[in-house]
């Protein structure tokens, strides 16, 4: 169905080819998952299938790509549009018309299908994707999951033989992601559509794949194989695979179901241990070790900026860039060595209950027109506490964060961030109390180069010259100061935005959907970094769909639904009982309350030492 023969893609101003000598065959009717770290050429490979690379993006493609026997060299994307359906990362950039029904019909209109065929296929597609009630709705008013389904539907109506998807679930909450994936399942099983999909959130998709193609890095040959084979060697893998590798299970489980069937023995071994209890008493979930002091958490330190910088240099310099889970596993196998003996449990230390709260919301209600985005929210974030805000797309998470930085005016109720009323405080003062990294970090970045951005941040925050550049140096050790912020990868851009925010040393840091578009390695670095900040007494509030991130970091999880708080409590208590917000490890090991592989690993290691 799709054949790559010795394909090399080089972009116009790039020094090295993005894809090099790729040979790949995707047979008909398979769901093929493309995995690999950021920048390994996944999007380029997908673009080459639809012909957008190189017809639209420029650059040179050597070798030959054929789809259904059509050579993309001689066929422009529009001439492939009847066999390939492409959905990019951002569904909003995909829509040409403004209502759902028109959007579904657009591709068919371009192909000139007869009116009765179009009518029938639109109705079928509305049913297939569960969009029937939304048919007359303007697309702009739909939620993220609905938009993603409309985008998929709009390419399905032409009955393409190949569907190409770039990160279809990254921006979605867990339930919406399930929705989209079940649709893809149906397409593959019922209609025999060939699906080629790239996705960072492997925990969501890997069990559905028939075959996985791993792009290990720029210029390295792709590894193709069954999901189990590839996952046993892949540097990027979901937590359930990490757990399987840790426990030495064979065959390697890919889904929670597989893992649960293998898990009884592990549950027995873990029976006497409990991370949740340890967390509540304030100690780490593992036996205390001297190495802990040199860990990322460290003892709480009052001096933040400089100490943060030093702490980071010491840490990020030494280990090679690999996934954090991998690092943990390596260390477990070799015994406890290295500067970070054990990844600490979610609570590196308990938040100070006594101190003044970092943020306090009382009866907060926010209305947008007639819609109440938030209704009667009471929430207190203590100093040093990490809180994860979860909930559906559109549940009010971003609005809540916005109200804490004064971007959103409360309709009633009070908001206090570090004792200030955000809406009434001049921005210059406010950034010393609270900093927000928005969903798209690009919103924060205006300057032409990283250095200029840092200089501006120093000036904005009234910090000593070089403060921000110092932070950037530790967060992004290998980035040149002259780089344009837009040329950074998603993860690097996030780190830069975080550095800009940290320049003012706010005690309260807010992050909106920070792991969107990050691969596991980048996510691991972010987790390390945020743990370090929490350890030094910063309060952190994350709005996220990423249950694994919440499990790794948060002391407390607050779930919002329709603008109200529906659950608020310690992470383990809230997420373990929830089918959609529980991380994979919790699902595998329930009813025991384990959240992350590192917890389990640490506990097992501790047990062995006791013997």
């Amino acid at each position: 169905m799709i054949r790559f023969d010795d394909v090399t893609v080089t972009y116009a101003d790039a020094a090295a080819p993005t894809l090099e000598r790729v040979d790949l065959t995707v047979p008909e009717g398979e769901l093929v998952l493309l995995v690999g770290p950021s920048g390994s050429g996944k999007s380029t490979l997908l673009g080459a299938v639809s012909g957008l690379v190189p017809h639209f993006t420029g650059g040179t493609l050597r070798g030959r790509v054929t789809v259904c026997g059509r050579d993309t060299r001689t066929h422009r994307p529009r001439e492939l549009s009847d066999v390939v359906g492409t959905v990019g990362q951002d569904p909003r950039a995909h829509f040409v018309t403004d209502t759902v029904e028109d959007e579904l019909a657009y591709g068919m209109e371009s192909l000139g299908l007869p009116a009765d065929v179009m009518r029938r296929r639109v109705e079928e597609t509305l049913d297939l994707l569960g969009l029937a009630e939304l048919r007359d709705r303007p697309i702009a008013t739909l939620s993220g999951g609905q938009q993603q389904r409309v985008a998929i539907g709009s390419v399905l109506t032409t009955h393409p033989r190949v569907l190409v998807l770039d990160e279809p679930t990254s921006a979605l909450d867990p339930a919406a992601a399930e929705e989209v994936l079940s649709v893809l399942q149906r397409l593959v099983h019922d209609l025999g559509t060939t699906v080629l999909m790239a996705e960072h959130r492997l925990e969501r998709v890997v069990q559905y794949a028939d075959r996985v193609v791993l792009l290990p890095g720029v210029g390295e040959a792709p590894v193709t194989g069954s999901p189990t084979e590839v996952m046993s060697v892949s540097p990027v893998h979901p937590p359930v695979v990490a757990l399987g590798r840790l426990a030495g299970w064979s065959p390697l489980p890919l889904s929670v179901r597989d893992a649960r069937r293998l898990a009884p023995a592990l549950r027995d071994r873990l029976a006497g241990l409990s991370p949740a209890a340890a967390e509540r008493t304030g100690g780490p979930a593992l036996p205390p070790e001297p190495a802990e002091g040199a860990g990322p958490a460290g003892p709480p330190q009052p001096a933040e900026g400089a100490a943060a910088a030093e702490g980071r240099t010491g840490r990020s310099g030494s280990p090679p860039r690999r996934g954090p889970l991998r690092r943990v596993l390596d260390r477990l196998r070799t015994g406890s060595g290295g500067p970070r003996a054990h990844a600490p449990a979610p609570a590196p230390r308990t938040p100070d209950a006594g101190g003044p709260p970092a943020a306090r919301l009382r009866g907060l209600t926010v209305r947008r027109g007639r819609v109440e985005a938030l209704r009667g929210i009471d929430l207190t974030v203590s100093a040093g506490e990490t809180v994860a805000l979860m909930g559906r797309n559109g549940a009010g998470k971003s609005t809540l964060l916005g109200s804490l930085v004064g971007m959103v005016e409360p309709t009633s109720g009070t908001v206090a961030a570090g004792g200030l009323t955000p809406r009434r405080t001049p921005p210059r003062e406010l950034i010393r109390q609270v900093g927000l990294v928005p969903q798209d970090p690009r919103d924060l970045l205006y300057a032409e180069t990283v250095s200029a951005e840092c200089a501006a941040a120093d000036a904005d925050a009234g910090a000593d010259a070089g403060t921000c550049l110092g932070l950037v140096g530790t967060l992004l050790p290998d980035v040149d100061g002259a780089t344009h912020p837009r040329d950074l990868s998603e993860g690097q851009r996030l780190a830069l935005a975080l550095a800009v925010v940290l320049t003012a040393r706010p005690p309260l840091i807010l992050l909106d959907e920070p792991t969107r578009g990050l691969d596991y390695a980048a996510k691991g670095r972010l987790v390390d970094l945020l743990r370090g900040l929490a350890g030094r007494g910063h309060s952190i509030v994350l709005a996220t769909h990423d249950v694994e991130l919440a499990a790794e970091l948060a002391h407390r999880v607050v779930i919002l639904a329709d603008g109200e708080v529906v659950a608020d409590g310690p992470t383990a208590e809230v997420v373990v009982s929830s089918p959609s917000f529980a991380p994979q490890i919790a699902k595998v090991l329930a009813p025991q309350r384990w959240l992350t592989v590192s917890e389990v690993a640490a506990a097992l290691a501790g047990r062995e030492e006791h013997r």
């Binding site: 529009r78 000139g112 709009s154 690009r442």
Partner: protein
């Protein structure tokens, strides 16, 4: 809103209601359009039920009542635009502020009764604001630059800027008379009403829907125009987002500097979005063309160009005082040639249309009501010009002329005959 006017009535037996409605059906829809039938429908809540002629009339009215709108019975977008153009033509024929106000009221009422909750439906308010701005601007310029209107009622005197000899005839500042301000106000109000009529059409039928009715040859150019039109609102949204994001950097959000600093990122964002959209459109088959013989292509070009030239020359003849003789036939011939050219050109396009808007009886009524308003107002202009143009020198109190005012009210017809927009999801007013 005309929501559920029959609620208060004791429910008639269903079969009786159906029978009565059937009996009334043949004559009812075609004859006297809307107004008589629709009026009871609106006041139907108080109508005594099931008794004699009144009851039958009520049921017939119920049959005439606008159905709840959906894609299948959506009013043709062209009907809304014709209606709005009719009102605009009427507005261009008068400077009477009472009539203009009535026209704005009519447009506003119809928009309030029939708009959906789609984002573009909110454009009406923006156009009203634009209209007010136009009036203010017109008055301000008149006061500042003077006006040829002679006047005796001096309101105040602005300091006058002495102009050099070569700029004779241009005046800046000086005496401002009541007559002059009044004239400027009337003139501005006329322009504002025109704008508001366009805004009403925009709110009721998005321009993108109108595009679906374009001939195939123009479709691609039309898509380009629509995409360009979405560029502006997206950029406004970007400006807003980036301005609030400036707060996060600790910079003031207002002021000229703030806007200047985010200018580049906004443009970059808009450009990126356009490129992404273009890629998506390409991948979805935009611009696929069929092979047509070269002869057909050349004929198309000749017909289209020749036709357009004919239309230009013809309309010049029509507008100029002496050319009316050859103007009309030339325009007609030009239009015919252009239409043939477009039709031929459509052969190059392989596109088909999904559920094009249908032009039904309700569309005739809506477009017809607009045309009627225009025609009646033009007629009134020939019969009673003084009522449509209240005196400025000397200033008189404008009167509301009865017949022109009633004819404007014909424009309210769409508020009853156009399909009712479906209730928006979520908690809205549940009962009237």
């Amino acid at each position: 809103m005309t929501g559920e006017p029959f609620r208060g009535r004791p429910a008639p037996r269903p079969e009786a209601a159906a029978g009565a409605a059937d009996a009334q059906a043949p004559g009812a829809p075609s004859g006297t359009p809307g107004a008589p039938g629709a009026a009871p429908a609106r006041g139907g809540a108080d109508a005594p039920a099931g008794r004699g002629a009144a009851g039958r009339l009520g049921r017939a009215a119920e049959r005439l009542r606008a159905p709840v709108g959906s894609r299948g019975n959506a009013l043709h977008a062209g009907a809304w635009w014709l209606w709005a153009v009719g009102l605009a033509v009427a507005a261009s024929r008068t400077t009477n502020p009472l009539l203009l106000g009535l026209l704005v009221g009519v447009a506003g009422y119809v928009v309030a009764a029939r708009r959906t909750d789609a984002p573009w439906a909110r454009s009406y308010g923006a156009f009203v604001k634009l209209g007010l701005f136009v009036i203010a601007l017109r008055v301000a310029f008149s006061a500042l630059l003077g006006s040829p209107i002679p006047g005796t009622h001096t309101l105040f005197t602005l300091p006058e800027v002495p102009m050099p000899g070569w700029a004779e005839g241009i005046r800046v500042g000086g005496r401002v008379t009541g007559e002059q301000v009044l004239f400027a106000f009337y003139d501005g109000a006329k322009l504002a009403t025109l704008l508001i009529c366009v805004g009403a059409a925009n709110a009721l039928a998005s321009p993108a829907r109108l595009l679906k009715s374009l001939p195939g040859a123009l479709y691609e150019a039309g898509v380009a125009v629509v995409v360009a039109m979405t560029f502006a609102p997206n950029m406004v949204a970007d400006v807003f987002r980036l301005r609030t994001a400036r707060r996060l950097r600790g910079r003031p959000t207002g002021g000229v500097r703030a806007v200047a600093q985010i200018g580049l990122p906004v443009l970059e964002g808009a450009l990126e979005r356009s490129v992404a959209l273009a890629a998506s459109m390409d991948a979805r088959g935009y611009g696929r063309t069929a092979q047509v013989p070269a002869g057909v292509r050349r004929t198309t070009n000749a017909l289209t160009l020749g036709g357009l030239l004919g239309v230009c020359a013809g309309s010049y003849g029509l507008l100029a005082a002496e050319g009316a003789r050859y103007g009309l036939p030339l325009t007609a011939a030009g239009l015919a040639a252009a239409a043939a050219g477009l039709r031929l050109g459509g052969r190059r396009s392989v596109r088909s249309r999904y559920r094009p808007d249908r032009w039904g009886a309700r569309a005739w009524l809506v477009a017809g009501s607009g045309a009627a308003v225009a025609a009646l107002m033009i007629h009134a202009g020939t019969v009673a010009p003084e009522a449509l143009h209240p005196g400025v020198v000397p200033p008189t109190v404008p009167e509301l002329p009865l017949w022109p005012a009633l004819s404007v009210l014909v424009g309210l017809l769409p508020a009853w005959v156009a399909p009712l927009p479906p209730a928006p999801p979520g908690p809205q007013e549940s009962s009237p």
